[in-house]
């Protein structure tokens, strides 16, 4: 069992009801597994798209990226900077 930090931003933070938390899940796991766990723990996030943008330790990754204990996964709504 591993503990992964999760961060929510913008609209996704409103859906989750928080900006930061953590989830526990069996490792080895992927970012996609973390998102599946997030949907269970924070039901509001089920309104997110099926494959949201995600970052792992400050870099955008695909959902098959492996995560390990202590990693930080961030869920990113569609980017709208500039």
């Amino acid at each position: 069992m591993g503990r992964v930090s999760v961060r929510f931003f913008a609209r996704y933070a409103e859906l989750a009801g928080c900006t930061w938390s953590h989830v526990n899940l069996d490792t080895p796991a992927t970012v996609g597994d973390v998102i599946a766990r997030i949907r269970e723990v924070f039901p509001g996030t089920q309104a997110m798209p099926a494959r949201p943008l995600a970052a792992l330790n400050l870099r955008q990754v695909t959902l098959d990226a492996p995560v390990t204990e202590g990693d930080e996964v961030a869920l990113l709504p569609p980017l709208s900077g500039g």
Binding site: R7, F9, R11, L79, G81, G82
Partner: protein, 144 residues
Amino acid sequence: MMHLTRHRLEVDDLLAEVQSPERGGTCVFLGTVRNDGDVTGIDYSAYEPMAVEEIERILAEAETRWPDARVILQHRLGVIPAGEASIAIAAAAPHREDAFSACRFVIEEVKKRVPIWKKEMHVDGSTTWVDPSGKPVAEGLRDR
């Protein structure tokens, strides 16, 4: 120079970072909050540590592609009233072509890669998250 700021953007500060006697062409891009419809301003938020790293990667890529150019950018966060700038980019190079190209490259990459979000603020006090894909962000919220 800090890439993210909560203060008004000052173009002269960016120019001071990039201009030099050997760089004869300087290009400045300003992105400004539009008063679309009843929008009074935009509240910008960011995943700040990732945004800073991503901006630094983009600037490094620009300087790899245009080695004689110098490029800098600042993005403002927080509530920005319509008519004020949210992003400023300055690119200077020996000749104008590279200055324009580097400046264009940086703004396009920022739009695609930097984790920053905007929430429009309306005259009636309501707010709307902006989804650049053009889809409504949630049922009941206004379509863009």
